[in-house]
Structures are given as C-alpha cells and as structure tokens.
C-alpha cells in the first residue's frame, strides 16, 4: 500500500492516500415465518485517491498484487491528468492526521453464535408478531425480517503522515411488517435497528418482544385509528420522527460538500447556501448535534477515512445553524479545518462528507410534561412515508402511530396525519424539548455511486406549536 502511494507521488501527485478495506457480512433472512436465505458476503480490496494539479482521482480494485497496486496508482494519476480541462483546484486542508488504532472488541463475537440460533431468533420474533396481531383480531399478512452481522476492517495511509487501522463490528436488523384486517385493509411498517457491537447488541434489542409490540401497535392503528381533519395543531414528535428531522433538516443541510455544489446532480444542495437563508431557525433551547464517538452507536467511528479524529459537531446551537460537516477538501475550500466527517462504505467507493449519529440534544421535559401543555393536538410517535426536497427545505412526514392529545391526555389514535412544512418553520415551532433520548438506526444514502452508510438518528420527544397538519386521505 505504502509503495503504491509513493508510486503515485513519484508520478507527480501532490497528495496520495491508500486504503485497504475488508467488509465481511453474514445475513439471515426470514420471510413470512420461514427461513428465506442465509448469506455471506466478503468484499475486500484496495483503493487509492490522489490529487494532481488540483484534480482529484480515485482508483480501486480487488485481487491485486504489488504490481497491480502500482498499476492502480498509475491509473489514478492518469485520471487526474485527464480531468485537467475542467480543473477544480481541489486541495486538502492542514488538519492534524492521526497515527492510531481503533479496534472495537465485541463482547460476544458473531462467530460464537450458531447460524441456527440466529434463524431461530428471527422465527421466534416472527411468531410473537403473528400472535400479537392475531390477539388483536388481525393477521400478520407479510413479514420480512433480515439480520445482518458485519465486520469492517480498514487500513489507511496518506502522504501527510496519517496512519489508521480500525476494526468495527456492526449488527443491524431490518423488518417490514404488514398487518391486515379484512374489514379495514392493511397497515405497514419498516423497523430498523443497528449498533456497533457484537452479538450483545442483538440481544439488547429483545427482538421477540419488540416485534410483538410493533405488530400489536399496527393492529391497534388498523382497528382504532380515526380520521383526522386538516388544521393547525400543537404537535409532539416522538424520538423516531425528530431523529429523522435532525438528520434530514439539520444534518444534510450542514454537509459542506452540498453547500459547495458537489452533490448538486444527485442528493442535491442545501438551502443554507442561498442568499438570505436564515441562520437562526429556533429558540435558544434547540441544539442539534452529530457525534461519531457515541459508544455502541451504529454510526460510530473515532477517526475518519482521511485519518482525522472524530468529534461532536453542533449543527444547530442555541437555535442557530452553526458548524458544517467537513472533510479535508471541503474544509480547505472554505478556509476551515476538517471535523472528521469523511466516510466511505467499502473499498470501491471514495470517502465523502457524511453524518454519523445526528440527534436533538435532550432538554428537561418529561413526555407527560410535554403533553400537559397541549389542549388539542397530536402525538406522532412513528411514521411511514417521508421525503424532503434536494435543498432540504420542504419536507413531509406521514404519521403511522399517532395519538390525539386532548387537554394534555392521549385520547385515541388518528389515521395518517401529514406534516408538510419548511425546515425553518419546523424548527421555529419547537417550544419544548424532552429529556429522554432515544435512537433509531438507518442507512443514509448519498453519493455516486450510492453509498448507504450506517447512522443513528435520534432525540427526545419535542413539542411544536400551531403547525399546519394535513388530514387523513
């Protein structure tokens, strides 16, 4: 690797970085209560990234020997030279780079858990979900439960002296549930869980109880949720939704590469780059952060793929957009220092600016205290449909488990109320922040080729005042 990097430098590159990455994953899938497939994937290879004449190039391959690596370096340099007609003047900042190891040792390695035990766990979880739906007079009409166990090992060196070795295990679960009633039709739900951990992370999810609870809730929504008329209401957003809001409406707008236009044709840009875009969007009680260093988190890393140390970043501080997420090239372009946001999904894709674990910092209200202050409103605890425009300005969340709030008390379920609102209006409506922080796992999509990177999204429940809500369809 080092010799390939040096070969790139000898060919005139002003910066070179080499990475070897191995991602070994095992997947167990249960579909409609039967084992579907068990799978193993091993993706391992080298990549080189070089800067020459202000042009950036990336080359990757697998099964390479020393000569193949030198050839990879030559290809990267040639690609950079070929880009010179549209030279961008890219450079790296002068951030300190690490010489470090980051090895997260699992308490229970994945290999210690028999594949049959994994399958049995998912089958039991399915059965508990089916029983819960049946107990409510409904049927679990479809269930797809997929458990992934991934270990990522990276070695990175760069020509600025950075050296990193990391090994991080990650467990993830994705489920899609459909609960059906002949009289009322179907409701559906995606469930995601994830952690940087060994098997102990899976155990901590208590999957059997969790799937039973999900199915029971879906059955309640199906049986009990009533229509909701459109109108302005106070709204309490639960951790699952405010976490997604933090990710979509604080995290993505704060990615410096979007602000610089690098994602303009794919994931888009950010309203923060527009003339007159508001910096202050909320009350002083509002803080949104992104923190890769949270122990056990799905988005956990201590050093990024450019060998820069990770740290907590305040995206919204005291109600104002504050720090952007940077890699070394975006930082150099904007005259600041990287804050360790450079991540790549596997060896075959370039590192780009990414979030890690994005959440609203807790305040001091209990959920009951948040509800107490609402005369006529909605508590939106989960969602199904959502999207947001490519400037991260106009967004929509359609509720799944949604409770009417009447005089501070939960007063029955509502069917699919929709919150469709601009980012400044959403944040400025927040008047109280809860204290009980919860996280959800997700894979955040960005880049070309698409990279679905592990993240947590989270927050405590928060209360919004007098927001316009769309009614049930």
């Amino acid at each position: 690797m080092r010799s390939a990097m040096e070969h790139a430098l000898s060919l005139g590159a002003e910066y070179a970085e080499a990475r070897h990455q191995s991602d070994v994953s095992e997947r167990t899938v249960v579909k409609n209560g039967a084992p579907e497939v068990s799978g193993m994937e091993s993706r391992s290879g080298f990549s080189l990234r070089v800067l020459k004449g202000g042009c950036l190039a990336f080359a990757a391959g697998n099964g390479l020997d020393a000569a193949g690596l030198r050839d990879l370096a030559a290809k990267a340099v040639r690609s950079a030279e070929a880009s010179s007609a549209l030279r961008a003047g890219i450079r790296m900042d002068s951030s300190p780079v690490c010489d470090a190891r980051d090895v997260l040792a699992p308490r229970t390695p994945f290999a210690d858990v028999d594949p049959q035990e994994r399958t049995s766990l998912l089958l039991d979880a399915h059965q508990r979900a089916a029983d819960a739906a049946a107990a409510a007079g409904c049927r679990l009409a479809g269930a797809f439960i997929s458990l992934g166990l991934l270990t990522t090992e990276k070695t990175v060196v760069n020509s600025d002296g950075g050296r990193l070795f990391s090994r991080i295990p990650r467990a993830s679960l994705n489920a899609f549930l459909t609960v059906f009633s002949p009289e009322r039709g179907a409701v559906q739900r995606h469930v995601s869980k994830g952690s940087a951990s060994g098997w102990e992370g899976v155990r901590s999810w208590d999957l059997e109880a969790s799937m039973a609870d999900e199915a029971a809730t879906l059955a309640r929504v199906l049986n009990e949720a009533g229509p909701f008329p459109a109108g302005r209401r106070d709204l309490v957003l639960g951790p699952e939704i405010i976490g997604l809001v933090a990710h979509e409406s604080a995290g993505h707008p704060s990615e410096a590469d979007r602000l610089l236009g690098r994602e303009a044709a794919q994931a888009g840009e950010t309203f923060l780059s527009e003339e007159g875009a508001p910096r202050r969007v909320g009350r002083p009680l509002l803080n949104v952060v992104d923190d890769p260093t949270l122990p056990g988190s799905f988005g956990r890393y201590l050093y990024d793929d450019e060998c820069v140390a990770a740290r907590r970043r305040y995206l919204i501080r005291g109600g104002e957009y504050d720090e952007l997420l940077h890699d070394r090239s975006s930082a150099a372009a904007m005259g600041v220092m990287s804050n360790g946001s450079s991540r790549s999904l596997h060896y075959g894709v370039e590192p780009i600016v990414r979030m890690a674990n994005t959440f609203v910092e807790p305040g001091d209200h209990s959920l009951e205290e948040l509800l107490e202050g609402v005369k006529d409103g909605i508590y939106m605890r989960s969602f199904m449909e959502w999207n947001i425009d490519d400037r991260r300005y106009n967004q929509r969340y359609v509720g799944l488990e949604c409770h009417r709030i009447a005089d501070g008390e939960l007063a029955g379920l509502l069917r699919s109320p929709a919150l469709e609102i601009s980012t400044p209006a959403l944040w400025s409506a927040v008047d109280a922040v809860g204290r009980d922080l919860e996280f959800s796992a997700a894979l955040c999509g960005k880049g070309e080729p698409m990279q679905g990177i592990p993240v947590w999204t989270g927050g405590p429940p928060v209360r919004l005042r007098a927001v316009a809500m769309g009614g049930s369809p």
Binding site: K31, N32, P35, V37, S38, G39, M40, E41, S42, R43, G45, C55, L56, A57, A59, A60, G61, N62, G63, A76, S79, A80, A82, S83, A85, L86, R87, P115, T119, G142, F144, F176, T178, F180, G185, A186, Q188, L260, G261, R262, E263, A264, A265, G268, E274, G348, E385, N387, D389, D390, N394, R396, V398, A418, E420, I421, S422, A425, E448, G470
Partner: protein, 436 residues
C-alpha cells in the same frame, strides 16, 4: 468461465442438489463534475464470485471478492456444510439446461480522456443554452459475466452501460436535468444532453411558489419512468407475497388505463438492460406486465413460479424476481404536444425521493425537482416550484389521458431499472405543498 467452472466442480463434488455460480468482472469509469469543474475521476476494476445453493428446503448464498480458488472452495464447503446441518425439506429444482443464448454484446472501448472531453462538451453546451453552472456524472462500465449451474446452464454475457446525467442551474437557482444512456459512451450525444439541461434551467427561471390541489399534469419520461419502474418492480412475485405491491390479487384485472402497456424485455438488442439469461441461467424473454391496462401476470424465478403453479418468466433474482429492462408503450407527439391539449395543468420534468405510506395500496409521495411548467389553454405561461405529488400508483396509472411518442431510456440516481418511457398526460394528479 474457468473460475465459475472450477467452483461449479466443487458443488458437483459435494453433490449439491441445486447450485448456481456466477463470476463477474466489472470495470467502471466515472467522472463527476460540479460548478462546471471536475470533482473526481473514479476507476474501479473488481471481480466478484457469487454462489447460490438451494437444497433440503433451505437456501444459502455467498458473494466473494476473491479469485483464489482454494479460498473459494473452502467458503463453498463451509456454506454447504452449514446448509446441510439444518435442512430437511424439498427444494425447487433449477431450470434444466443446457440453453442457447443470444450472442454477447460488443465490448465498447472506454477511455478516460475521451470521456473527460465529452463531459466538458456537455458542460459547455449547457452554458451556451443558458445555464449558469452544471453538475453531473458521466459513467461507463462493462461487466463480463460467466454463469453456470448444476442443472446444466452455462452462459457468458457482456453487459455494457453508459450514462451521462447532467443538472444545470440558472442564476436564480432554477434547474433542468439532461440524461442520456447507451451501451457505448461514444454513442451519447453529450452536447445535446447539456443543451437539454441548460435549456430547461433557462426556461424555468423565475419559478413561482405554486398552490397544491388536483390538476392535470404531463409527466416527462424521467418522472413517468420512476412510476413505471415502481409498478414493474411490484410485479415481482416476491414483493407480491410480501404485501409490498398494489398488484397483489389483481392478475387479469384492470389496474391501469387501457392506454398503458408495460413490459419487461431484456431481449431488445443494444440496451443497458439487455441480458441473455437471468440469474438462474434461463434465457430471458419479453414478458407483458400490463397490457391494455390489465395485469398480465407476475415476474417469477423458478421458486416463486412453482409456489403459484406457474412457469418461471426468466426474471430470477435468486431470492426476488426482478425486471431487467422495462418498456412503456408510446403514443404520438412530444410533451409540448400533450401540453398543448391541456386546458390547465403542469408539466413535470423530473422527480425524486419516492416513498410509500402503504405499498399494498400504492400510497406514496414523490418530489418534482428541476423545471416544472404551468400550462394554461395549452400554452406554457410560467414555471412553478415547491410542489409534491402525493397520490397513489393505482390512481395515477388509471388516470392516463394520453401518451407521447417521445420515448427515451431512463436510468439514473432515482430510477435504477432501465425504463423506456414516453411523456404521459395524467388527469387530476394530487399535488401538495408545505403551507408554512
């Protein structure tokens, strides 16, 4: 073929009931640019070997970025041993070969200097057409695929793809998207793609915040291809079984306007979705999905087919059947001709971020992005922004008023199944927007 064959011999030595081995060698060049400048040039070359085994009522798969045969054999032996520890039931047999396949596609030459020059031409053309700046990607890849199975399938394919995707911005932030796909990057008209993006950006300058509500819309190919690809993917029997399809239980019923014809046809020569065989080695064929608005049937692999007493449609996916190369039947005229027939409505040139509230009902929303034009009395009278299509697939597909003759291939960030789509005039589309 030798690597795949060598691993197949391991499966045969282990007396595996049903096994498929495929080896793929992919080389890809990708140029990304923004603000009219190159942001990165990517080169990736990788070999991947995949093995799938179905035996004793269980299925297992491994995918390895590995060419060392001894390591591959060890991985296969571990997989088969694991499968046999817990199996017990019967498995569906793989399609029995040997088969005859269409001749492999030609291998296009891919050159980074030539592609960089074409990207520069696209950017310049966009600027000449009125763009203040452009961003995008130009990629070309070739996958050499070898496949063999314990049931006697044995085939080789070359799968070339090229895609130029370019988004241009006017000084006020309005935007337009140009897209071209081909099997050979040299067949892409880079300047025309740039002119399209730049022209749409210029035409949509001064876009005004629009009101929500139901109104007619002409959905250009990038938009309707998104919907057609959703419908095509939901025809997979796997997703039907999962409750993730509005087509469940609708075979033989009207699910769309009689004007709609939707097929999957990977046998059309020279498309980026053309392929001679599916993932089980069965020769591909044209399958009608929706004919005259009626659901013809579902897409199957051998396993989903047997579960329904049907035959495979050669759409394997070893786990989930899938479409490879979708086509929507066309009509007459271009989008301007369709718009000229509308009293009042919108022209939506692009959309992204499609998400479902309920897959079984097809309830979803998707966000128009780039140029949206306002039509009054058949004339374009301005541009609009800030809207969202919040509707259902059954409703939109049933409300088709007319289809254009301007079919083009679409595959980009939002639409991952290559889809040939025209512009489509749809009645009473539900648009919503943020009201605060």
């Amino acid at each position: 073929m030798s690597l795949a064959h060598d691993v197949l011999e391991t499966l045969q030595r282990l007396d595996v009931e049903n096994g498929v081995v495929s080896a793929a060698r992919e080389r890809e060049l990708l140029l990304r640019f923004s603000n009219d400048r190159m942001t990165v040039a990517d080169t990736v070359e990788a070999t991947t070997l995949s093995v799938f085994v179905r035996e004793g009522g269980r299925k297992a798969a491994i995918t390895l970025g590995e060419t060392d045969l001894s390591k591959l054999e060890a991985a296969v032996e571990t997989m088969v041993a694991g499968l046999r520890r817990h199996g017990g039931g019967a498995s569906v047999p793989l399609p029995k070969g040997p088969f005859r396949y269409a001749a492999p596609a030609e291998d296009p030459a891919v050159d980074v200097e030539e592609m960089a020059s074409m990207a520069a031409a696209a950017v310049e053309a966009a600027r000449s057409a009125g763009a203040a700046r452009s961003a995008g990607s130009f990629k070309a890849s070739v996958t050499s695929l070898s496949l063999c199975s314990t049931a006697g399938a044995e085939g080789e394919a070359l799968l070339p793809e090229a895609e130029l995707s370019l988004r241009s911005f006017s000084p006020d932030g309005s935007s337009g998207h140009g897209l071209a796909v081909a099997t050979d990057p040299r067949r892409i008209d880079a300047a025309a793609t740039g002119r399209e993006a730049g022209g749409l950006a210029r035409m949509s300058m001064g876009a005004a915040e629009a009101k929500g509500g139901r109104q007619d819309a002409v959905l250009l190919p990038m938009v309707f291809a998104d919907l057609a690809a959703e419908a095509g993917s939901m025809a997979s029997a796997f997703y039907v079984d999962m409750g993730m399809s509005f087509l469940k239980g609708r075979k033989g019923e009207e699910v769309a306007s009689p004007l709609l014809q939707l097929s999957d046809d990977p046998t059309i020569p020279g498309c980026i979705g053309t392929r001679p065989f599916d993932d089980e080695g069965l020769p591909t064929r044209r399958n009608e999905i929706i004919a005259d608005g009626v659901l013809s049937g579902y897409l199957h692999n051998s396993e989903t087919a047997q579960a329904r007493g049907a035959a495979s449609t050669a759409n394997a996916g070893l786990v989930a059947p899938r479409p490879f190369n979708l086509t929507v039947g066309g009509g007459k005229g271009g989008w301007e001709d369709l718009a000229a027939e509308m009293d009042r409505g919108l022209v939506v040139t692009n959309a992204w971020y499609l998400r479902y509230q309920n897959h079984a009902a097809g309830e979803f929303s998707v966000i128009p992005r780039d140029a949206v034009f306002v039509v009054e009395n058949g004339e374009l009278v301005g541009a609009a922004k800030g809207l969202r299509i919040s509707d259902t697939l059954p409703s939109l597909l049933s409300s088709i008023e007319a289809l254009g003759g301007d079919r083009r291939w679409v595959r980009w960030w939002e639409v991952d199944v290559p889809t040939l789509s025209p512009s489509v005039w749809v009645r009473d589309v539900s648009f919503t927007r943020s009201t605060m």
